[in-house]
Subunit: 549 residues, 2 copies
């Protein structure tokens, strides 16, 4: 196949890596995602760059670490001058289109400073992570005052679900047996069926919108990347019939947690355990009530993907479309006595990642499992390569996964990195940590997971002897643990010292500097002879003939 492929990049939100049958879940069967894995490569060690939606996504969309793009937490605008995957693809003549969630906050102050009209083509793109918005849906606010009205809200109203906040009142609420409306913002209501039929749910709607886009794009003819970004299974945890009671407490796997974890002497870990969401999910009845709804949401997603993939097959798109499936981070769900995400155990920091490339070059890897350490920022260079965009090593910090897809040599990574800025969290409040010091960074080499906690001792897990990560070796006096910690600190410094803001070092700039350096810096020549011996050129060639007139 010589023509450029398209890329469909599917992202689920808050999907744990181990809640898919291809990743080993014993009760949750996800045959459509499993089938995608069979057609491509399933990555078993894929790490996100921050265990929070916004920064994780900004890394995915820029191909850069959080410390590089600077959007370190939800609501922190991505600076106007930060180039994204969409910009690179557009430059190469492809479309980069958004269908769904990005969690981007626009840098309106930066746009005003640079004279960019937010409603101009450039302004809209800058406000949408560099994508062309086809359908944007960044909902997820608790109340109607803050919930931004979206096209999905319009859709709900058109279909008879009329209110000031149809997303909250119908799609994310249920009716109890007395017909009382109960909000899924409260965990006790998770087992109610959402008050929309499945075909009008947000997951189904967004799937339809992806089909709309692909229909239009096929007519358009330009190659494209479509980022199909689902909001679920992110909280509020509620799912329509029949998924709401497809699973019960008997399908809930026992939590991974130890008494040693609860007795931690690490102030930051203590603060995590004391945070409301962790106290909540540490309770068995919460887990047993919420997890079945979470599983239902994933099952519903899998069914919608089945529908989507079948449509693509029928539309003739399967043979020329690379499909990637992943998530922006996981969900503790009570493991380690924790809830939500925000830290670095595998259940939060590791995500499912499947890439199915239909081209013949990728036949060698089809159906394989990859145990290489990969990062979410690797997707951007991989898609750039697929769509014929030049590599941009001065901007992109991820590594092209194409060698893995093609079963060839050439991919390597020694460490995965993830960062977290917890400045307004319960933990920062409890510990009185100033917002500029409230950050942690994980470095993982495939065995040792080292977490540097500014102002506190590090946390260390050995995933070889403790794959469940329940034994913190961060204060261990054992010689090999001390040596590992020193090695990890040194590796972090190596990483932190790498060029990462030198984004103007284009090949043209580097070439121009090389010429200037090699030919033009004249300092240090005593006389003509030295100059001529060093350069092979007469010095007189540099000096105009003399004073005219």
């Amino acid at each position: 196949m010589t023509k450029r492929p398209n890329v469909l990049w599917i992202m689920a939100d808050q999907l744990r890596f181990d809640y898919l049958s291809c990743y080993g879940h014993p009760h949750l069967h996800t045959p459509h995602i499993d089938a995608l894995a069979k057609r491509g490569v399933q990555f078993n060690k894929a790490y996100i760059q921050s265990p929070v939606c916004g920064p994780s996504r900004m890394s995915a969309y820029t191909g850069r670490y959080v410390r590089s793009h600077g959007s370190t937490w939800n609501g922190m605008p991505l600076r106007v001058g930060e180039p994204t995957l969409g910009d690179h693809l557009r430059e190469a003549g492809a479309r980069a289109v958004l269908v769904g969630k990005t969690h981007m906050t626009a840098d309106l102050e930066g746009m005003a400073w640079l004279g960019i009209d937010p409603d101009s083509t450039i302004g809209v793109s800058r406000s949408e992570c560099g994508f062309d918005p086809f359908e944007r849906d960044d909902g997820l606010h608790p109340d109607s005052a803050r919930q931004k009205w979206s096209a999905y809200d319009d859709y709900l109203v058109e279909n008879g679900f009329k209110s000031e906040n149809p997303w909250g009142d119908f799609a994310n609420s249920g009716l109890d047996e007395n017909g009382e409306r109960l909000s899924a913002w409260l965990l006790k209501n998770s087992r109610l069926p959402a008050d929309v039929p499945e075909e009008h749910s947000e997951t189904a709607y967004m799937t339809n919108r992806a089909i709309d886009f692909m229909t239009e794009a096929t007519a358009d003819g330009r190659p494209w990347m479509c980022h199909l970004s689902y909001i679920k299974p992110h909280w509020p945890y509620i799912v329509p019939k029949p998924y709401h009671d497809m699973y019960g407490p008997e399908h809930v796997i026992a939590p991974v947690r130890s008494e040693a974890e609860r007795d931690t002497d690490h102030p930051l870990m203590q603060a995590y355990l004391n945070a409301r969401v962790c106290r909540s999910f540490a309770r068995d009845h919460v887990r047993e009530h919420v997890i079945p709804a979470y599983m239902g949401l994933i099952k519903q997603l899998d069914d919608n993907l089945g529908r989507l993939f079948a449509w693509m097959e029928a539309a003739g798109l399967s043979e020329n479309t690379i499909i990637a499936f992943t998530s922006d981070h996981g969900d503790y769900m009570g493991d380690h006595w924790m809830g939500d995400k925000d830290f670095y155990h595998d259940v939060a920091a590791k995500v499912p990642l499947i890439i199915a490339d239909p081209r013949a070059e990728a036949d060698a890897s089809r159906g394989s499992i990859c145990e290489e350490l990969v990062e979410m920022i690797d997707l951007a260079p991989t898609f750039m390569n697929a769509l014929g965009c030049e590599a941009k090593p001065h901007i992109i910090e991820g590594r092209d996964l194409t060698p893995i897809l093609n079963g060839t040599e050439g991919f390597s990574r020694r460490y995965a990195i993830s960062e977290h800025d917890y400045h307004w969290s319960d933990m920062a409040r409890a510990l009185g940590v100033a917002q500029e010091h409230a950050h942690t960074v994980m470095i993982f080499d495939g065995r040792w997971k080292f977490i540097r906690c500014e102002g506190f001792r590090p946390v260390l897990f050995d995933l070889e002897t403790d794959p469940q990560e329940v034994k913190d070796l961060g204060a261990s006096e054992q010689a090999d643990h001390i040596a590992v910690r020193a090695r990890m600190e040194a590796a972090l410094l190596d990483w932190a010292r790498r060029h990462h803001t030198r984004i103007t070092a284009t090949s043209a700039v580097l070439a121009r500097q090389k010429i200037a350096a090699e030919g033009g810096i004249l300092i240090g020549f005593w006389d003509e002879q030295e100059y001529e011996e060093a350069t092979g050129k007469p010095f007189s060639s540099l000096v105009p003939a003399g004073r005219p007139g």
Copy 2:
């Protein structure tokens, strides 16, 4: 004095800290600069952020470390989205004006991407480090093909110095006794008088232009900061009569250098010593020939500053203008067997810095010597404070020097940092270091100077026992040296992990995030009662009353 002061920020180029009489030079008398020090504070430990013009200046103009602004070497464009001192001052209603050199390379590719016309007001400002250009002069190319024609070239032509490159042919050439034109690009010609009279030299011209600006600004009435940025005493080393023979070999101080330095086993240091410019300045006859010209250039600069200060006094500007005097880096001049700059001995990385604030608040510090560790990036926040601009801790990494000027508590710095990207240097070529790994970073705590050299062992100097920095302790097995090196590595990691790209974290953004975090993230509440106990508000206040219609 209640009205906002003006700021005149004078920068010399490549001026060593110790080539002024107030900094101890025994033969070079600089009474006008000395007098400025008597009217203000003389900083004895002021460090630049990179020992090269471009990156040092980009740090000065942004108030940010090199790793933050990303313009790591000469010719590396400052990215279009990098805010500068000029932008901050303009926002506060002050003018920020350039008279002279910046060494800025505009990010034309970035401007095209964001739709900014380089000739628009915003485009011109982005191309000039955020300054409004009054007079720009970034000359310094060896040949007429690369020498950009400047207003100073026009001026020379108007005054009878006609050629295709009057800057090179007259201002930076001399005539020998036979009337032959000899270029100051060759060091042997340094002792000739430049072929322009002093009053038409670049230093005099730029002084006149500063006077022109201040005359205009006084009529305008808005507060201003004027960056008066001289190209000299930077090479080509040549100076007009009578300065060309004011000094001779008898005024040249013996070089600071040791045999141990020449015998270094450090590959990078060996490569430095083998670089052409170092081999050149390691020769005594080169030093003895060039240094008198360098001294003459400084003496000429001092005389012009005397003229400028006298004019300001007569114009009534002295009483309301803060004057800062500094340089962008030093010059080895054969010390340590080295030439030019590019490394971190004090003669390259430490600069003269004098700040004279005429306001009564600063009377307490007048005429004092400050031994605090300060950095070039401290000037931006100091000027912002003086001109009434809000502090911007999310962008500015320098620290406000106002407490030092006012003789109050509040300034502190434990470490000074400087960085160098040597990717196209003789050293990188000789060692085969890839451009992405060719960097070093200095961290100095006032006693220990530690230089991390990626790919090589570090260099370490103890300035307490070895103030001349001739004894490299980077490989010492002595326990206290090992401990110092570990402490410095840890401090570097602390520094490297600080937020530095999080420039959209304005106080408004942080406040918005705080509200969202404290009030809006609902995850983890089991029921209404938990919500109400935790928040003190009824849960029903979040939920619209029910399905309408």
